[in-house]
Symmetry: C2
Subunit: 307 residues, 2 copies
């Protein structure tokens, strides 16, 4: 039994982490930490990671669901205390800090898991297996959602390090780096940044592979009505489409049965396995793609965003 503490009790903790932990018999949720210290049933809630480590019950692991801007210090405290660490996505605000966390986990002999929940969407494993056997011609990501609906009051998403529309889009990039038969890299980007915030509200990223397969990503944070989280891949033997963030799969328009979408249960299953095997899983590639898009991207100022 892995005794785990949850740091950060915001939307993602309530929507995903608490139900996933409740459903996995290998974990026992013994405490949480949150600045607001909201109560959560009988769960003891501490102020922050230091309070949790000093005054909380004995722990084997912590899962960090705080905004990414404070993830490094929290993760460092937990790793240095010898705890296994599950990082929500993105694993940090810079690529460099994630590499450093990995070094600390190695030194401490504990597990660090950079979780990418969309890789555990129901259609992703079959999409990967199908693409591995075909010649890819091009791939298009369309990730368009309504920020007001999915990220209400999340001021951090607009601040430096919050990444704006790349906070959801990094999910697509995590699927991309999982299913592509070849490594990908950014060749250009256009980013629209509202004049009153730091992070892009829309964008287009051009990506390619060494063999020259063109990949495009069209991102928008202002889409109302039906929401779009699609990845379409054209091959020499048909067209594959992942929809609903990877939960649905079609090939040449035919729906493929993929089973129930169990992203967070899948993540905690992987985390338990990594701990049991004494391994870490640290993959910064989705974040590196965003960093490269920010490095090489053209920025355009657009009208202010008011929630």
């Amino acid at each position: 039994m892995i005794r785990i503490g949850l740091v950060g009790l915001g939307k993602i903790a309530h929507d995903q982490h608490l139900p996933a932990l409740a459903g996995d018999p290998r974990f026992s949720l013994v405490a949480a930490a949150s600045h607001g210290r909201p109560t959560h049933g009988d769960l003891p809630v501490f102020h922050d990671i230091d309070d949790l480590l000093a005054n909380g019950p004995a722990l084997d692991a912590v899962a960090l669901c705080t905004p990414p801007q404070v993830r490094r210090e929290t993760a460092l405290a937990a790793l240095r205390a010898g705890k296994h660490v599950f990082l929500e996505k993105p694993p940090g605000v810079t690529v460099g800090e994630v590499h450093e966390l990995a070094a600390v986990a190695r030194d401490q002999g504990v597990t660090l898991f950079t979780s990418w929940h969309s890789r555990f969407a129901a259609g992703v494993p079959q999409a990967k297996a199908w693409l591995a056997k075909r010649r890819l011609r091009k791939l298009a990501i369309e990730w368009r959602e309504d920020v007001r609906r999915w990220h209400p009051g999340q001021a951090w998403i607009w601040q430096a390090g919050g990444m704006g529309v790349f906070d959801p889009a990094i999910n697509a990039l995590s699927i991309l780096t999982e299913i592509m038969p070849e490594e990908v890299f950014v060749t250009g980007a256009k980013l629209q940044v509202p004049e009153n915030v730091q992070a892009p509200i829309a964008g287009h990223v051009d990506i390619t592979t060494l063999s020259g397969v063109p990949v495009t990503a069209d991102l928008d944070f202002l889409q109302t009505g039906p929401q779009t989280w699609d990845i379409t891949a054209w091959t020499d033997d048909g067209v594959l489409k992942l929809s609903l963030g990877g939960a649905e799969l079609t090939i040449d328009g035919q729906a493929i049965p993929v089973g129930e979408n169990r992203e967070y249960p899948g993540l905690y299953d992987r985390f338990a396995t990594l701990i049991a095997e004494g391994r870490s899983e640290v993959d910064v590639r989705p974040l590196s793609l965003v960093a490269d898009a920010f490095l090489v991207g053209d920025r355009e100022r657009v009208e202010a965003f008011v929630e």
Copy 2:
């Protein structure tokens, strides 16, 4: 004798590469490529890398001195033709593309060298050796130069991928990553970007190490009068200062003899050695620091830059 071609005949080629190659008996400069096709004595000059490879004399290696925005395609063509490749700094416009070039070099069995000329400044080796034996308290980079004086007419520097003031500042970051006893990572940045261009004209970057040593970088592209390329390190046993981009070294205010500054001769010496040993040297850390600064940095729009 390494038969080498020079791609790009701009300011840096004339100021540095041509004299360095002329002074190194292991290299024979046999051709060049430049869109403008300026003549250069008896040297045959081709239109671009494809023209050079197809119609030029036999080559073992190429050195790329083009603006970074076109470096990847040029490097790929050369590597795929089996040539050793010397990349001017920065080695690309994204971190990802440099990793891909390294993979191609491995596949082809040729040398790829991501050159960082400032690491070959006269004072750098002694600074590194001195710091390795002391406890570092803090380090400050001040890199302030006059863009109009050093980069006349270089429109590419202001475009996306040109990095603005980080084009010179990456020299400081290349020294930093060479002399620091510990790995460094970015924790925050403030970037000033003129309203008519894409790249920052000034900035401040906060960097740290796992043990918590604070590193700051203050960057300005509008300094007239005396120019500043200084790195100061405070230790438990004195203060070290590298000035003039690493060419001069003082410890507690006393000048330390470091010999003549031979940055580009040093680079070509290293390139010849790497080729002889059948190895590559690919270090993306300075560029990764810039990418992370762009990813996490706060941007402020400042007045238009007019050269």
